[in-house]
Symmetry: C2
Subunit: 435 residues, 2 copies
């Protein structure tokens, strides 16, 4: 057996259908995929590189299914204020100043932070998306990117003009680029920024491109009201009516759903990106996640942007997802560790179009993280799934591997110039954040 990389003596959380954990096992990687996984060492193996996983937990890389990476630029800039003021008085004025260069460095910062916290793939929705694709391509991480076919403003007026060609071009240029590490969806910002015509057009475009849609859906009660007013139905219903739900849909938030909305999401196979930190921090409310899971809806996790979080830490999101719903329902048996881990890995991978990752099994892409558990907060060693969800911190991630490539080892990046990223972001923040 010829291997590019062998990880030995490691406890392996596979996240397979049985939530199998292998103690003190071996993981072999060839051509970017997992080619060996066993409790026993491989026989007659030749390997180019070896990692000792003693004292480590190996698990699938985390998948952050909803973020706006470059909003790291507005981190800790506007907190503890009403949503309208947060958005209109603070965030929008900064975003109006953003250049392509700003978005590039903000995205690089977000990617550095995500890799450090064990994220191997993310879904991004923002502006200057060529810069986001560039950052993904350069860093080695995976991403689902999207581009809107609608231009909202022309001559300062809300016009909702179809600019489908830009989305087609973006799809053609980037979908499956970077050795397959980029997938492209069609962006539908939301039902309140689109209208019935543009929703239908975006749905057609996604169908024509044979891809999916990334949408903000029912994040706030304000959207509940606006949808009723503008469409005479819920946002889920207008999406169904316009064909949006006939393609793969990644729907962020889904905080305020009716029972009927839940049924539609289930029937249409929509994936829900749950963003507990952002929903709590902005006072948006608490999504009906346990009910979604009970119905079999594919629920995954996201951080949202750092301006409403204020980090891109998926360990915090897993911990929150596990705790908050137990507490509000007063039921400690809800949201078990295995369920939450699946939301953070396999469910997320499926939702953003990377079906061949999110589980450690032979044949899957080698998107793997190693967690260093030789620290007081991991002793004594017990249930590994509980350990990750309830005890771990993002900083416990020691090693990050994407498609078999080691992007971080012993908490050191192998190819990313983190000092330069921090310097550039700090340098440009003066101009952006002056009030």
């Amino acid at each position: 057996m010829k291997l590019d990389l062998l990880i030995k003596n490691v406890d392996i959380i596979t996240m397979d259908d049985r939530n199998m954990v292998i103690h003190d096992g071996f993981l072999g990687i060839s051509d970017g995929r997992i080619s060996y996984l066993s409790q026993k060492p491989p026989e007659n193996a030749a390997f180019k590189k070896e990692l000792d996983g003693k004292g480590m937990l190996a698990m699938p890389g985390l998948v952050n299914t909803h973020t706006h990476s470059a909003m790291t630029l507005m981190r800790n800039y506007a907190d503890d204020i009403a949503l309208e003021s947060w958005l209109f008085d603070n965030i929008f004025p900064v975003e109006a100043k953003l250049t392509d260069k700003d978005v590039y460095w903000g995205t690089m910062l977000g990617i550095a932070e995500m890799l450090r916290s064990g994220v191997t793939a993310f879904a991004d929705m923002y502006m200057f998306m060529d810069e986001v694709a560039r950052a993904v391509t350069e860093t080695g991480i995976k991403a689902n990117l999207c581009k809107s076919p609608v231009q909202f403003f022309e001559d300062g007026e809300l016009k909702r003009l179809d600019k489908s060609q830009g989305t087609v071009d973006y799809y053609n240029q980037y979908h499956n680029s970077a050795q397959g590490r980029i997938k492209v969806f069609v962006e539908i910002h939301s039902t309140y920024m689109f209208n019935e015509r543009t929703l239908a057009n975006a749905a057609s475009l996604a169908k024509q491109l044979n891809t999916g849609v990334h949408i903000h859906l029912l994040e706030t009660t304000a959207e509940v009201e606006s949808s009723k007013r503008d469409y005479g139905m819920t946002s889920v219903e207008i999406c169904k009516k316009t064909g949006v739900l006939d393609v793969p849909v990644l729907a962020a938030h889904c905080v305020h759903l009716t029972d009927s909305d839940l049924e539609i999401l289930k029937e249409k196979g929509v994936s829900v990106a749950h963003n507990p930190a952002s929903n709590l921090k902005l006072g948006s409310g608490i999504a009906r996640i346990p009910e979604m899971l009970e119905r079999g809806i594919n629920v995954c996790l996201g951080t949202d942007g750092a301006a409403s979080n204020n980090n891109l830490n998926m360990f915090e999101e897993m911990n929150l997802a596990a705790l908050v719903h137990k507490g509000t329902a007063m039921d400690p048996q809800l949201m078990k560790a295995a369920t939450v881990l699946k939301m953070g890995t396999a469910n997320g991978a499926k939702a953003i179009g990377f079906e061949d990752t999110g589980v450690l099994a032979e044949g899957m892409k080698a998107d793997i993280i190693l967690i260093d558990t030789d620290k007081p907060h991991f002793y004594p060693k017990n249930n590994p799934l509980s350990t990750v969800v309830y005890s771990a911190q993002a900083s416990d991630v020691d090693t990050v591997i994407v498609d078999g490539n080691i992007l971080m080892q012993n908490r050191q990046f192998t190819g990313i110039d983190e000092e330069k990223i921090k310097y550039e972001v700090q340098a440009l923040s003066g101009r952006l954040l002056s009030r």
Copy 2:
């Protein structure tokens, strides 16, 4: 000016009444207290040791006001199960096996974990409390310890016998011991483990010793019911009736309070230890914290034991406290960063009897932590209070100082043998956790 230690070029979160932050300032320490604090360097200063705080945030050490440190021994051992089964089928059987040695090593582990996450003082309620005092004395941390005057079982029967002399002896031996780093309260486990007579006796004892009481109060709806049944009133009301609230009270949880209970807590100056992670994880519910704060009740934070958390990470508690109440009340202006930081520091110090710490100001004890913010998740640098509550991880704590003594620097302990603690805990866990 003669200083034992000078910390220079550091951003200082004072947590004084104005929430003053000093950028690029200087902190001087003499005889265990803060003797200099300014934006300018001290003139003609002689100092024995100097720390460069460049890129660091200095703030008061965190105060964990409710934990059972040695329950680290049951970390990740029993999760996602109903409260009754968690307690009776899992925790109690392990606790029945505990020896004094187990509690010593479990507490040492807890202290190592707490120091690493910036905790400089904690309040503990458990068994073998001499061992807890020993661990506190050896490690250099501060603690409020308590001992129950009630022995619950004799010949296997629930008897609630007063053993006040043991509490008096414990108080006399340890209160203000370890150079004043230990305070002793009287333990009242709860109104359901005590009865009217033993509640009154414990209150008298606290009065006689001129000290306070540490109690679990209204953690669950089960206590609401049992109190109604046993006393014909709420737990808060029976505490008031029996004189418990006439001494300083540290009341853990307080999840299920009536409006009248809230008024009584306010009137009697009770301090409430909010334990959001544990309350959520065990499905106990969500305490009415914003209403308590509005009434001026002294609310502080705790982790509870690691068996229901599953760590002793006060950064997580601050983050949860800031997020959860915003989300449930759908109001992003609740629980602002400054409020939550005060809960984690000054309010906690006051609640557990260390009035001369929790704020960085001249004359206060030098209980200080330095947070290393030269990491991607802290860029760009903005509001320091938001930074700590919303972006930081426990692992960002670089340096911990208690009474002017450096217990950890550059994440290395100066006097604690962490390897031995991990080894001993792992070794004894086999016997304890075999089912």
